[in-house]
Amino acid sequence: MDEIQSLLQGFAIALTFTNLALMFVGIVLGVIIGVLPGLGGANGVAILLPLTFSMAQTPGGQTSAIILLSCIYWGALFGGAITSILFNIPGEPWSVATTFDGYPLAQKGRAGHALTAAFTSSFVGALIAVIVITFLSPIIASFALEFGPAEFFSVYLLTFCAFVGMSKEPPFKTIAAMMLGFALAAVGTDPVTGTLRLTFGSLRLLTGFDFLIAVIGLFGIGEILLTLEEGLAFKGASAKLNLRAVIETWKELPRYWLTSLRSAAVGCFMGIVPGGATPASFMSYGVARRFSKDGDKFGTGQIEGVVAPETAAHAAGTSALLPMLTLGVPGSPTAAVLLGGLLIWGLQPGPLLFVEQKDFVWGLIASMYLGNIAGLIVVLTCVPLFAAILRIPFSVIAPIIIVICAIGAYTVNNALFDVWMMVVFGIAGYFFKKLSYPLAPLVLAIVLGDRAEASFRQAILGSQGDMGVFFSNGLVGSITSLALFLLFLPLITLVLARLRRG
């Protein structure tokens, strides 16, 4: 049990007064960053990176520096859920799936329950992922090496297909929304030829459509337009303002242990591969809807619908640090910035980091346990405070939301053009909802579209155009088959039902 001994040493390193203080500072900053749409965890960590530079020069300072930065990351993971639940505006990409059931819960006056469920499952997801990191890191690191372009594409395909096959909306509406998302994701630089495409000669379209701007517009502005139409009432006004919601939710949560475990497994897999927290949250939501007893009620305000994506997102976000530490491949944008930090501090991530920088690695792993406990305490005590925001009259809060959305959209690229794009997406979001087209597949396609395209084309380049590459070994073959099975699941169920009847 070498790991346990190393871990105890790690706790000894992480448990100093300075480090604990840094943990709380990091968590609070991270929550704020997570709440503000646009200012993502990656930006937040990047801004603070130079500050840690002198910190890392002192003995043991590298551990303190990574504790501060990683706690910002945990905080952002926690914080992303807050605005998703309260206002239907995801603060971070991975909390889009949290809006599906979180927002309806808030509208029913159960915002406190939804927040508690989100925070607690985030914590559970992170905890399971840290345990996996603690004991299985060497095995898992070598598993990630199996992933070439074809394998990556099959994972993205699985995410898309899981969404189509398990969605409640008519499959064709889902596919239509998804295709629009792919088209938007294609704007900008072609990943294989390096040339510009679909920019119509406009230099403004060089950057393509940023996912965050689409989300802020589609969800945030779109939601406000809808509420305006329905008469300026906020439905969540009856939210309770005490910690009783926390206790009530905790009594309910053990019921969903199977969903939690499944979501954590999906999350760890996606984090390690590394596919990222966003596909993990979508996939886990889809899977939970399929397998849950109350699957039909998903989308109307089910606690289970909050548990699934939050557990997976946090598990993926946490386990994404493993490929970063052992292979130097970041599993998320934030992990990419942390990786840059490690290199600046003079640490070389890779297989030898665990051998040569034992104190650093185990201090970091210990801080993952402690940081998430600190995070849970911080956010849970704030639940009544967050829920109280819903008591503010809509006529006051709506302009504030619009201002925050506009600032968020501006922050992404420091461009006013993006604020106008946000408004356009807002109007589009309003019409999507009026015509009952789902927004989520559109968003999913914008987030993963270019990555899926790049890995598809890399795989096809390598195989000289042979599509057989997606079935060329057991790993990629089974993921692709599973994806295709899920895609045609609605058809299969339909045919089976007809056969049984006939």
Binding site: P50, T52, F53, T207, L327, P351, G462
Partner: protein, 335 residues
């Protein structure tokens, strides 16, 4: 006579541009926060260097005003370059460049050129090393290239970061010289390229030293040669008896290709000599810090550093070379 006249005109211009700054014969200094543009995403090599410079400047109090790093990576960095091009005369903006200074306008046709900017200082050159998986039998670039020729492009994959950027240009340079052909696979991020090579999803890479060193030391990758005219000077033992210095240059090993990537600082056009000189001074001080030296050693950088006319001449030569290489490979937009 002409130079002193020139100086007077420039000083007058500076006074006009920075009206709030009293013309008291003092050297120019920034009067507000300086924006440090990175024409690439967060976490990459250029971003790391920019943030390291920012950290060193803050730690050693090298500037009175603060410096803030802004990533503008759209269109392979075109977004960042266009921003600086459009900020003519603004002395509170600097940009760090990588090879996309040349490759992006050539490959995409986006209208900018390094002559739209003012060269400040070359900070270092980034080295490229030819890597293969340690389980393959190739010990020299000659052996490897011969094997590629025999196997053909269908069966040999070169992985690299980005499309029509430095990694693919080096690949094209080797192809043009030797007649060997690869299927080039563009992958996002140097770290990911190295891991794809460890996982044998590609056959070779031209990763920067820092991107692949961990896998070399872990016994998974083997360096064949460095695309530099001189061996890397770092003699610290990394794996067994080997150091960066043990890797032969490609030329020594019989593959006459040399390529280094510019890590240089530019300002917008239309700034005064005083303003340029100010940043040159700050950056010189950055280079003297132990943190900078440490960064150079960790990344096995080539520490060549040029300023003024020498720097501009170097950039011009390098641009011409990129045009030739990219023309030969058919990488130029509308070609």
């Amino acid at each position: 006579m002409k130079t002193s006249f020139d100086r007077i005109v420039r000083a007058a211009l500076a006074a006009a541009v920075v009206a709030i700054w009293p013309l008291s014969g003092q050297a120019w200094e920034p009067s507000k926060t300086v924006e440090f543009i990175v024409p690439a995403g967060t976490g990459g090599g250029a971003d790391q260097m920019a943030r390291a410079i920012q950290g060193i400047v803050a730690k050693h109090n090298l500037m009175k005003e603060s410096m803030v790093v802004v990533n503008r990576s759209g269109g392979s960095g075109a977004e960042g370059f266009l921003d600086v091009k459009g900020s003519e005369g603004n002395p509170h903006k600097i940009i760090i460049t990588l090879s996309n200074l040349f490759t992006t306008p050539l490959a995409t046709g986006v209208p900018f050129n390094w002559r739209d900017l003012t060269p400040v200082k070359m900070m270092a050159l980034d080295n490229f090393v030819l890597w293969v998986n340690a389980e393959t039998p190739y010990k020299t670039p000659k052996e490897y290239v011969a094997a590629v020729k025999k196997a053909g492009a269908k069966n040999m994959k070169m992985g690299g970061t980005g499309a029509k950027q430095e990694d693919q240009i080096i690949t094209a340079a080797i192809e043009q010289l030797t007649g060997a052909k690869w299927t080039y696979i563009p992958i996002k991020g140097g770290g990911a390229v190295a891991v794809q090579l460890v996982g044998k999803h590609i056959d070779s890479s031209v990763n920067n030293p820092i991107e692949a060193v961990a896998h070399w030391r872990g016994g998974k990758l083997r360096p064949l040669c460095v695309f530099n005219d001189n061996r890397m000077p770092y003699e610290e033992k990394l794996t067994g008896d080997l150091s960066w210095n043990s890797i032969p240059t490609c030329k020594q090993a019989g593959l006459d290709v040399s390529y280094m990537m510019l890590r240089g600082i530019f300002m917008p056009g239309g700034v005064t000599a005083d303003q340029v000189q100010y940043y040159v001074g700050v950056l010189r001080k950055v280079q003297e810090t132990p943190e900078w030296k440490d960064l150079m050693a960790k990344g096995a950088f080539d520490t060549t550093s040029l300023e003024g006319k020498e720097y501009a001449d170097w950039v011009a030569r390098e641009e011409a070379r990129h045009v030739t290489l990219m023309k030969g490979a058919g990488f130029i937009a509308g070609q």
